[in-house]
Amino acid sequence: MTWLSDSALERLRAAAEAPDLGGTRYQLVSKLGQGGMGGVFQVEDQILERQVALKVLSIADPEGTLSARLLQEARIIARLEHPGIVPVHDAGVLPDGRPYYTMKLIQGQRLDAHVVSVTTLTDRLRLFLRICDPVAFAHAHGVLHRDLKPSNVMVGPFGEVLVMDWGLSKLLHDPQRHEKASVAGDNPLMEAPADRTAHGTVLGTPGYMAPEQAEANALIDQRADIYSLGAILQFLLAGAAPFPRALDAIRKQAMSISPGSRYQTVLQLAADIQHFLDGAAVSAYPEGPLTRIWRWVGRNRAWILLLLVYIVVRALLIFFRPR
């Protein structure tokens, strides 16, 4: 009997995982990564002569549930046309029967790697705001991401920020469903029991997943993503400690255990971060009159300094005027 070497085994495994692209417009270039249910490959679109990323189901799916979910993921991303969300180009079924979709190939760094090069607190907060944008956009279109974390955020070579991996995303309302929710007086961005991915299934990443998301049968809404954004904010602030109390209050509110105590929309969270960057008051941190005055002085110190110089000069000229 001849034993195969480790490298030979590895090549065999890679060949078995590689999608069968025969008869399609795509040619395999390399493997980019592996997700929970699918592999992502760099392929060349031979018609348009460009490199794209192809996501394909990589685990057995006898019931077709995962295939349906992959297709649903592609449809959800396709409806979210936003600069912060990777555009889907094409979707279909490979000759080997596996569903796939192709999307723009992003050559950048994941946030957890990129953050090392972002040294100032201000730049990190600006980066955070750019993550909030596509998430707010998705919520406005009735989509929850449900797996927001630093490794699912890519920063492109020109600083563009893209929220990736919508594999766990959930479309919460279409026009018909929205109508029903409105009649019932429900939150249209609240996942209905029948919409849950699978009974008792917990989806998400520990550490970034909202507490209610960890409960298998709980209803979740956009506030679960807000919790995850709070966790990303915490990640971005790590190493910048001690950071200002107002900023910590924003983080705490975003990551409140109770969804009712969190920011209710991503826009509210982003607005508080923007206010913090502008040196203005933030809603998460009630401040006393002294703090308010001190902050006002800090924001207007150039004005105050110039006026003080003027007043002092005027006073000195009056005091020492020639008699």
Partner: protein, 119 residues
């Protein structure tokens, strides 16, 4: 508010206060109204010039330098027009320069830049 209008407003307000400060000099107190009027006009002229500059040049440092220069120049002109042997150059030009600098700062930091006309 556009930068020129902001410059005019700040210049006028500072001009009024600059003129009113002459009340503390008893020798010229009887000319207070004339001094306030002249000082306000000086502030208005400085505001227009510095406001236009801020429209064209977007630089805080250059705005401050230009404001200082305009303030000093206009104050020099005012001092040179003073009757009598004593022109009080230092007493007039120093606060004038600071007023110009303040207008320069205000017009660079605040005020709407010119919007291009829709095609």
């Amino acid at each position: 508010m556009n930068k020129v209008l902001l410059g005019i407003l700040v210049g006028a307000i500072l001009g009024v206060f600059d003129g009113l400060s002459s009340w503390f000099t008893p020798e010229v107190r009887n000319q207070l109204m004339g001094i306030v009027f002249g000082s306000t006009i000086k502030g208005l002229i400085a505001g227009v010039l510095i406001g236009f500059f801020a429209r064209k040049v977007h630089s805080l440092a250059l705005g401050l330098v230009f404001g200082l220069a305009v303030g000093l120049l206009l104050a020099y002109a005012v001092a040179a027009m003073q009757p009598g042997p004593n022109h009080y150059y230092f007493q007039i030009m120093l606060p004038g320069g600071i007023v110009g600098t303040i207008i320069g700062y205000a017009t660079q930091r605040f005020g709407q830049p010119v919007q291009s006309a829709a095609s």
